[in-house]
Amino acid sequence: MTGGWKMRLALTLAGWTIALAMFSPILWMFLTSFKTEIAAVRTPPAIFFRPTLENYAAVLQRADYVQFALNSVAVSLGSTLLAMALAIPAAYSMAFFPTRHTRDILLWMLSTKMLPAVGVLVPIYLLWRDFGLLDTRLGLILIDSLGVLPIVVWMLFSFFREVPPEILEASRMDGATQTDELIHILLPLSMPGIAATALLAIILCWNEAFWSLNLTTVNAATLTAFTASFASPEGLFWAKLSAASTLATVPILIFGWISQRQLVRGLSFGAVK
């Protein structure tokens, strides 16, 4: 290698510096979650301190926190399931039985994602109010699943296209119906792709903020809305905020790390493989 050890040392230092710089806010949140409220606002900021679990205990004891967390779980799983149920047959059809219109339909689906959410805030709010969907889990599930649907269809489509049609062909010869073909052959074959798609959908729904802030108040509010409620300047509950935020962040961070490779494909709509 050219450059030698000096080059390598410089690279290592630079690499670790940016990595720690980018990660330090998250690390700081993590550290703060183990401080007492007084230690959390102390200057100079304490790096060494006696860790406490009292914030986690306090957060978990709050009945509403548990409800917000359950709402987040219900909404992200519900939206993902609904989106997958709609998208799997559609992606199957477009990947294995393309027609003249397939390309147009795919691009049209993508174009729905271009619609800024804020452009339809007013009608959605009024419709949800009239149908009694405001501040309900169902209401949020409906809107979140529609939000991720184009990405889910695109990702599944690109995974399904990697399955050789001959395999499905063979099962057809053995007398399998179309539904058999989809459920017993295609789904097991493309399980990794389906799992990656579902993970991405869960991540996006879990972190979704616009609709949860605008369409929910108490009953169906998710963790995004809950953490936003700490924005009010009335109290400095940073340690508790950090504990609540850490709990809300860690599972999704792990999901993200696991699926980052496939995620790129979904987020770029296949433009980058």
Binding site: T43, P116, V118, L121, S268
Partner: protein
């Protein structure tokens, strides 16, 4: 390639498979869009008595002749442009750096992409409370110990502070897309260039950067779509203030709709946001359409 892969497939009825998905997206897109257009032509406030009345282009005239919309529009474009610039420059640098081989590279990669997976309200609050707070924040402590005094970020430079937060969240996205793109670069080509005596800078400029241009365009366009409706970060930090200093189009519409309950005005703003997004979308669609050329 075209079609040959599926030449022998029997034709089937695709409507029952595609129908539900297409219908759901159609209802989601077309119905609310039509309603936004309709409301934008009405004098319609949820707080005032009486029914909505047709108002023609009055909402648009009111918006376009007032100062608020233009301030918000300017803030929107400034925010989008700045974050885009920062995320692309840093994203490219980080990707090139993380593509090189050094001890702990894989852990560094995980650390760098992590902020993208933190929910936007949490990111904004970490920055607002623990880093940028003028009394207790880490930044204030650092500047004070350096004898520089304290800078009240959200009061003095609200838009730039929000830019910093959003750039922190989205630089990982650029890295996520650009790093695999770099790794797909032909290794022989790089080795050949090195053998010809190309240093790291020449290597970057003549080989890596040209290879990254297309993925960079994709990053730019996808980010633009998201940044045009940037909302949560403003909502939890500045609330659009002080004054209008950090109000973007999305926040303005939210304020008109859910604070003033002015459906007509908010809808007109919504239509303008949609027009703006569509201009951007046109470019993205063209880029993505190319990746579909082998479908039929």
């Amino acid at each position: 390639m075209t079609g040959s892969r599926l030449a022998k497939r029997p034709r089937i009825r695709t409507a029952p498979l595609l129908g539900p998905c297409v219908l759901a997206l159609f209802l989601w897109m077309v119905v609310p869009l039509a309603m936004t257009l309709w409301f934008s032509l009405e004098r319609y406030n949820l707080l005032s008595m009486g029914k909505a009345a047709f108002a023609g282009l009055e909402n648009y005239r009111y918006l376009l002749t007032g100062r608020t919309l233009w301030v918000a529009m300017g803030n929107t474009l400034l925010l989008v442009g700045l974050v885009l610039l920062v995320t692309l420059v840093f994203g490219t640098l980080f990707a090139v750096l993380l593509d090189r081989d050094f001890p702990g590279r894989n852990i560094c990669r995980l650390f760098v992409v992590a902020p993208f997976f933190v929910m936007p309200t949490v990111s904004a609050l970490i920055w607002k409370n623990m880093l940028m707070n003028p009394v207790f924040g880490v930044f204030a402590f650092l500047t004070r110990s350096l004898g520089l005094g304290v800078f009240d970020f959200f009061a003095r430079a609200p838009l730039l502070s929000i830019t910093a937060i959003v750039a922190w969240e989205w630089t990982p996205f650029a890295v996520l897309i650009l790093l695999p793109a770099l790794q797909s670069l032909d290794k022989d080509q790089r080795d050949a260039a090195r053998l010809d005596g190309a240093g790291p800078i020449a290597l970057f400029y003549h080989i890596e950067l040209p290879h990254l241009l297309r993925p960079m365009a994709v990053v730019a366009m996808i980010e633009m779509i998201f940044f045009l409706s940037l909302f949560a970060e403003i909502y939890v930090t500045t609330g659009g203030g002080p004054g209008l200093a950090s109000t973007n189009l999305a926040y303005l519409i939210f304020r008109d709709a859910l604070f003033d309950w002015d459906v007509g005005s908010a809808s007109a703003g919504g239509m303008l946001a949609i027009v703006l997004a569509n201009v951007v979308a046109l470019f993205l669609m063209r880029a993505v359409g190319r990746s579909l050329e082998d479908v039929r």
